[in-house]
């Protein structure tokens, strides 16, 4: 049974760009061999680690969204554990959570539409309506982190 997983791995800062891409091809090969697909790959680039791992203070983060079976993820997990270049990795199953999120979103927009119609308004929010709509996303500092942790 195919499920959706997210795999994030942290590559040692000493690794060259070729080694990072090489690692990606290795993962890809494993995925393809076991009849999975890679849906998305994201390289977050080099980031500072929140704490030292081994003696490393930085790491290159790579995110892969994979469709596949549990056995496939087990195999990837096992392989990544063996590779010394990967200093940390995490596999998370996301399909169920995503389904819940989508359903909540759908339900919410549906109720809002129904209520708006009941109030005699057009079902969708008009541009420039409400106080929240005109807040620029970039200026939104509600989730800004503290300086010392930046």
């Amino acid at each position: 049974m195919n499920r959706k997983y997210e795999l994030v791995y942290v590559v040692s800062p000493e690794a060259s760009d070729e080694q990072v891409t090489d690692l990606h091809t290795q993962v890809e090969a494993t995925v393809q061999r076991m009849n999975g697909q890679i849906e998305k790959t994201e390289n977050w680039g080099r980031r500072k680690l929140a704490y030292e791992i081994g003696r490393h203070k930085e790491g290159t983060y790579v995110l892969e969204v994979i469709n596949g079976t549990g056995d496939l993820m087990k195999e990837i997990d096992r392989r990544l554990k063996v590779i010394d270049l990967v200093i940390r990795h995490l596999v998370v199953r996301v399909d169920e959570e995503q389904g819940v999120v989508d359903r909540t979103k759908a339900r919410r927009s549906e109720t809002s539409r129904r209520r708006r119609v009941a109030r005699g308004l057009p079902p969708d929010r008009q541009p420039g309506e409400g106080q929240r709509g005109d807040v620029d996303d970039d200026r939104d500092d509600r989730f800004d982190m503290g300086e010392e942790l930046r």
Partner: protein, 99 residues
Amino acid sequence: MNGRKSFGGGGGRGKSTTGAQGKDGQRRPMFRRRKVCKFCSDKIDDINYKDVRMLMPFVPERAKVLPRRISGTCALHQRKLRTAIMRARQLALIPYTTE
């Protein structure tokens, strides 16, 4: 008469008031703003471990998870927040602790 007058405890919903003793012994009600769950009010369904910017306000200096009693997060979202923080910690996106 609706019997909604409350003394001290038993605030329940709505603005909670706590009696504070003034300097001259006068009873002055102290108003505290009712805390609301940030995720409910902002309609954020997906608390993701990858979004460090979003998680950071919930891990103050000592990098501990901010308790519900302070942040006002609802139980459901606090639970999701906790898993997200734990995952982010594993990937060294958020510290476990600070010296």
